[in-house]
């Protein structure tokens, strides 16, 4: 992992970015119908907002409505079912802290086509900004590495984020990209219609006609 050695060594050294901005950059790099799972709250609100374009909204997104912490497991299930497709999990720090064991499972399975993106603002933003443990010393990239996810790195800045995502699209994973983000409000709100979300996603994955 020599190329990752120029990444920040810890959370404190990573630039604070904007969630909508980097989500847009991520979506802009997806050209092969990659699947994206948006964890609850603002993470998936900005995925929803970033996925709208002149040609409609991308179909290969799944938006959770509850089940806090399950973005990584759901993404892993999609990745197992469709090994030829790259799958991204977008998860907040509070959510990830609820299901840290799933990082061990991803590492143990060596899930090649999976990339986890952590949106870390150190707060339960949607419930009033209470501090999470990442604001009090926990480093999710460090936890991921210790869980066996060797290809885990903090994105130093927006350019580094794009570089890491690009690598994750080209090379085998599993990958984990830590992103420090600010406390900006999301740009839009996801439509809350679970049957439609699931049906769209399955159509986007080619499972349903």
């Amino acid at each position: 992992m020599a190329i990752l050695s120029n990444q920040p060594v810890n959370r404190d050294q990573a630039k604070v970015m904007n969630r909508y901005d980097i989500t847009r950059r991520l979506v802009g790099l997806l050209h092969a119908d990659e699947a994206v799972i948006g964890g609850i709250g603002y993470t998936n609100f900005d995925l929803w907002a970033a996925s709208e374009s002149g040609s409609g909204r991308r179909q290969q997104n799944f938006y959770m409505l509850g089940s806090m912490g399950l973005a990584v497991p759901i993404a892993m299930g999609v990745a197992i079912a469709q090994p030829g497709r790259k799958v991204f999990a977008l998860e907040g720090d509070g959510s990830m802290l609820m299901q840290l064991g799933s990082l061990c499972t991803v590492a143990a399975r060596k899930q090649k086509n999976l990339c986890v993106v952590i949106m870390d603002n150190g707060a339960y933003q949607i419930t009033g900004g209470q501090k999470t443990m990442t604001e009090q010393g926990a480093d999710i990239v460090g936890i991921a590495r210790a869980s066996g996810l060797e290809q885990s790195a903090w994105a130093a800045d927006e350019d580094a984020f794009v570089e890491l995502v690009t690598r994750s699209l080209q090379e085998d994973g599993p990958w984990l990209i830590g992103c420090r983000i600010d406390a900006a409000k999301p740009v839009d709100t996801t439509e809350r219609d679970p049957a439609r979300i699931r049906d769209n996603f399955m159509k986007g994955l080619g499972v349903r006609a």
Partner: protein
């Protein structure tokens, strides 16, 4: 010809193309897990939590693979939130098999108390549930209920009674 409960389970899962098996280990489930892991038809692995396993199965189902989650009673008790916010509202046919602790000779008071939460939770969420007690009914219950789960896109829970499996016996 399948003769034991776990051979019947393996046979019916294969018939319905249920190929991904996630589980949190349990002593009663051990012969089933062993039979599944010995069969190359299945992808099977243990997860760190039942919630995690349910999430993996939900994702795999949406990606076109049928799945089952194996656990014991106390593990089921960790699932109400994800059943109510993922499986049920998204119409995902989460197939669950629970080895029943807490009854018919339980020796751990925690198990006997947590077991009493299981059926009320399943009922509250209107989840199709079958308690399997007899070897001669096992194939029918599993076969018909898997058809129903996938046709109606609804979760189903199979509770394996000690009457079927022998359960976990108190030994000091």
């Amino acid at each position: 010809m399948a003769e034991t409960w776990y051979e019947i389970v393996v046979e019916v899962l294969k018939r319905h193309n249920v190929s991904l098996v996630t589980y949190v280990p349990d002593n009663v489930l051990r012969p089933l897990v062993a039979a599944i892991e010995a069969d190359p038809f299945f992808t099977a692995f243990a997860c760190t939590r039942e919630e995690e396993a349910l999430g993996i199965n939900a994702g795999a189902y949406m990606g076109g693979v049928r799945c089952i989650l194996l656990m014991q009673t106390s593990g089921f008790a960790t699932l109400p939130n994800v059943l109510a916010s993922l499986s049920v509202p998204f119409s995902i046919p989460t197939v669950m098999m629970v080895s029943e602790r807490g009854t018919l000779g339980e020796f751990n008071i925690g198990q006997s108390l947590v077991a009493r939460t299981m059926r009320p939770v399943l009922d509250a969420l209107s989840i199709e549930t079958h308690t399997m007690t007899r070897l001669d009914e096992a194939e029918f219950i599993l076969d018909r209920s898997l058809v129903q789960a996938f046709a109606t896109m609804a979760p189903v829970c199979f509770i394996l009674s000690p009457l079927l499996t022998g359960g976990k016996v108190f030994s000091k």
